[in-house]
């Protein structure tokens, strides 16, 4: 039952050995990565099929509060399966330049799996750091001066973020004396004070660098507009969701009070306002998508700030929708970058890409019956049912943002579908590789449209399970509490 550890161990092992493999055989370098990703996908799905209720796994054979544990439930296994899947779709199959980018991607996959599965706060920090460093390398992998400048900015902001997150974790440790998430949840009453809450704020802002949360997202437009579309798709689509996952785990397990929710709600609203307004103003397609990604993640945050199952369901739905739509959009920017004005006639040049753009844009705005509509509907009903002044303000912000979103996306679509000069057509042609992958994302979106009922049921099941605090704590600590800890816990309570 213990082989989910392979999802972390295998990619790291392969990445360590890749320099040696590449000096032996160049073709092996190109096949070993996808093969490992397939194996990871298989391990995650194998668990997904047999899992009846959440399971905790003690790594190194040391029981959880002392050792590190992985927490397996539907949400973490879903992420663990999505990581290799997205990597396989966005893998640089046509890269002939050596092994370094593949190596970094595998390290990213290992770190992301660790982040999705881990149930220990410091372990999460370690994997988060690994994730950060790997994404620095990938953001700079384009090797242009602009990419280096953008990555430098990313490194500085991310460095600040990791320091803040580490401070927050240290504060939690001083308040509770433990690092295991479930154990922290058991002692959550000790965090209900200014120090505990500021620890949460520090972690949210620190981890939020990757989740594109409002005050620490200055790197987003620079990096996404200079990195290659595949990497932007990966960072915006997958990596940001893992950071959000860490925040909601902490929220569910340790911070059930209303202050933490208010913090998330305010940060989310600011993110929506800032992101959507900047996207409205931007004249460049890649920058527009980056800013709209900030806005979308703000919506995800607002969704998770709604208390109870409704918020969890809406948040996960928004997250999954963004995970499919945004990578697809970024893949279209390879040859469509630069000013939006120059996109005239793109539809005649590659009609399939124009159709896909239209599909993604409509779903993102939330036009029924596309999946984006249902995700936004969950969010809106959640906000209405929460029925507090701040949530009503959030509702107004959300609806205004949707109007702005519709305006800038549709005016871009108008440019794409308008008639252009023939001599530009060649430049606007999409590469078949990117177009194929984007089509797959589009197909997934359409497939979701026809399986709405089963998807909704599964979503509700995942949401109920992952918003259940006592279930999380029970799962990990039922592995048996060491006697000394049990004594101390009873003393503290």
């Amino acid at each position: 039952m213990n082989n989910i550890a392979f999802n972390v161990a295998l990619p790291l092992l392969t990445a360590f050995l890749l320099p040696i493999i590449s000096s032996g055989s160049k073709s092996a370098t190109r096949f070993v990565g996808p093969f490992v990703l397939l194996a990871m996908l298989w391990f995650a799905l194998a668990y997904f099929n047999v899992l009846q209720h959440p399971v905790a796994i003690a790594l190194g054979g040391f029981l959880p509060p002392l050792g590190i544990s992985f927490h397996l439930d539907n949400l973490s296994l879903l992420m663990a399966a999505l990581i290799p899947l997205m990597m396989l779709l966005l893998w640089p199959y046509n890269n002939r330049e050596g092994f370094r980018e593949e190596s970094l991607l595998l390290l990213l996959a290992g770190a992301a799996s660790g982040l999705a599965l881990s149930g220990d706060l410091f372990n999460i920090y370690v994997f988060y750091e690994l994730l950060s460093v790997a994404s620095f390398g990938l953001a700079a992998a384009n090797r242009t001066a602009a990419a280096f400048a953008a990555t430098f900015r990313y490194v500085i902001i991310s460095g600040l973020g990791t320091v803040l997150a580490l401070t927050g974790i240290a504060l939690i440790y001083t308040q509770t004396g433990t690092l295991n998430l479930a154990h922290i949840g058991l002692l959550a009453s000790q965090l209900n004070n200014p120090v505990g809450l500021s620890a949460f704020a520090l972690i949210v802002i620190g981890i939020g660098v990757k989740a594109e949360i409002f005050p620490v997202n200055g790197w987003v437009p620079e990096v996404y507009s200079t990195a290659s579309p595949r990497i932007s798709a990966l960072l915006a689509g997958l990596i940001s969701k893992l950071a959000v996952l860490v925040i909601i785990r902490l929220l569910v397990v340790a911070y059930q009070g209303s202050q933490a929710l208010t913090l998330l709600l305010v940060l989310g609203m600011l993110g929506i306002i800032w992101g959507e307004l900047s996207a409205w103003h931007s004249k460049d397609l890649k920058r527009m998508f980056s800013f709209s990604s900030i806005g979308q993640l703000g919506m995800v945050l607002v969704a998770f700030s709604i208390p109870g199952d409704a918020g969890m369901a809406a948040g996960i739905a928004m997250m999954l929708h963004h995970l499919v739509v945004k990578p697809g959009m970024f893949l279209l920017t390879e040859n469509w970058n630069g000013p939006i004005k120059k996109l005239k006639g793109a539809a005649t040049s590659s009609p399939l890409a124009a159709f896909l753009f239209m599909l993604f844009a409509l779903s993102m705005i939330g036009v029924p019956p596309l999946p984006g509509f249902w995700a936004k509907l969950l969010l809106v009903t959640g906000l209405v049912e929460a029925n507090a002044p701040l949530y009503i303000i959030a509702l107004v912000v959300l609806l205004t943002a949707t109007v702005i979103e519709a305006h800038y996306l549709m005016s871009t679509a108008l440019k794409i579908f308008s008639r252009g000069k023939k001599k530009h057509f060649k430049k606007l042609l999409q590469t078949p590789f990117n177009l194929t992958i984007a089509t797959i994302f589009g197909a997934v979106l359409l497939a979701a449209l026809f399986t709405l009922t089963p998807l909704g049921n599964k979503l509700n099941q995942i949401a109920t399970e992952s918003s259940d605090r006592s279930l999380y704590i029970k799962t990990t600590l039922s592995l048996k509490l060491p006697p000394q800890v049990k004594q101390q816990v009873s003393k503290v309570q």
């Binding site: 161990a9 000096s23 120090v195």
Partner: protein, 257 residues
């Protein structure tokens, strides 16, 4: 605008830290996990150095993450450096300057000493303070010092990559072996031995040797990469080239002043 937002952010952070220090009770931290580990670590793992039993035992996967971070950083650095080298290596560019006989001979004198200290710290990681990370850095220093004294000596990068790859892989393979024996990933193997002797604490010393070799090879490669003219390490310096660096560095100083 940007300055204002930075100011707002910084003052908010300062306020937060102020609140924390205000509310903080020094010395009042509960030591739930710390005390429990202190009580049972020696018995459970048999390592005389308790820090090692935490680093490689209780939190072994964190250590795996840390060596992966170092590996990632060096891979990313060489990705960036190699691209700069490609653009600028039209003419072969000299590296650091030669600094004379005294430095060169003392560097070769230091080499065996540093190697001994580094290996000692790695091998005794489960007994005395220190371990793979600290010892590995000292090993890297041992390799880097001669390079600093006699630039252009050249480093065997493929050899370093080989050591690095296999050391890192063996850490994970030891973890996987435990998995195949029906234990958990990274669970210590082979019993405890007598506490305090060199062959004790099961597989922890093996893990530390792997960490030490990996860190040492990694950092040697990274430092050599940074110090070398074009990141390839195969070029040697000729006298004329080193003279031309002096000129350029003098020019640089002039333009600075």
């Amino acid at each position: 605008m940007r300055n204002i937002s930075a100011l707002v952010f910084a003052s908010g952070l300062a306020f937060l830290l102020l609140v924390i220090t205000w509310q903080f009770i020094l010395g009042g931290a509960p030591m739930l996990i710390g005390e429990a580990i202190l009580q049972q670590a020696a018995e459970e793992l048999g390592a005389a150095n308790l820090v090692t039993s935490v680093v490689l035992g209780y939190r072994g996967i964190d250590t795996l993450g840390e060596i992966a971070i170092l590996f990632t950083a060096s891979t990313a650095t060489s990705l960036v450096l190699s691209s700069i080298a490609e653009k600028t290596s039209a003419k072969s560019k000299p590296g650091l300057r030669d600094d004379g006989t005294i430095l060169a001979s003392s560097a070769s004198l230091f080499f065996p000493l540093l190697m001994t200290i580094g290996l000692y710290i790695i091998l005794h990681g489960h007994l005395t303070p220190g371990g793979g990370f600290q010892g590995g850095v000292i090993l890297a220093a041992a390799f880097f010092l001669p390079l600093l004294a006699v630039p252009g000596r050249g480093v065997n990068h493929s050899g370093l990559a080989l050591v690095e790859g296999f050391a890192g892989a063996s850490f994970i393979v030891i973890g996987i072996i435990a998995l195949f024996q029906g234990k958990a990933f990274l669970q210590p193997l082979f019993g405890h031995g007598e506490m305090g002797s060199l062959l004790s604490a099961g597989s922890l010393p093996l893990l530390y040797i792997a960490v030490g070799l990996k860190v040492g090879a990694e950092l040697s490669g990274l430092l050599a990469n940074l110090a070398e003219p074009s990141g390839n390490g195969d070029e040697t310096l000729s006298a004329t080239e080193s003279a031309s660096t002096e000129q350029t560095s003098m020019q640089a100083e002039k333009t600075k002043s």
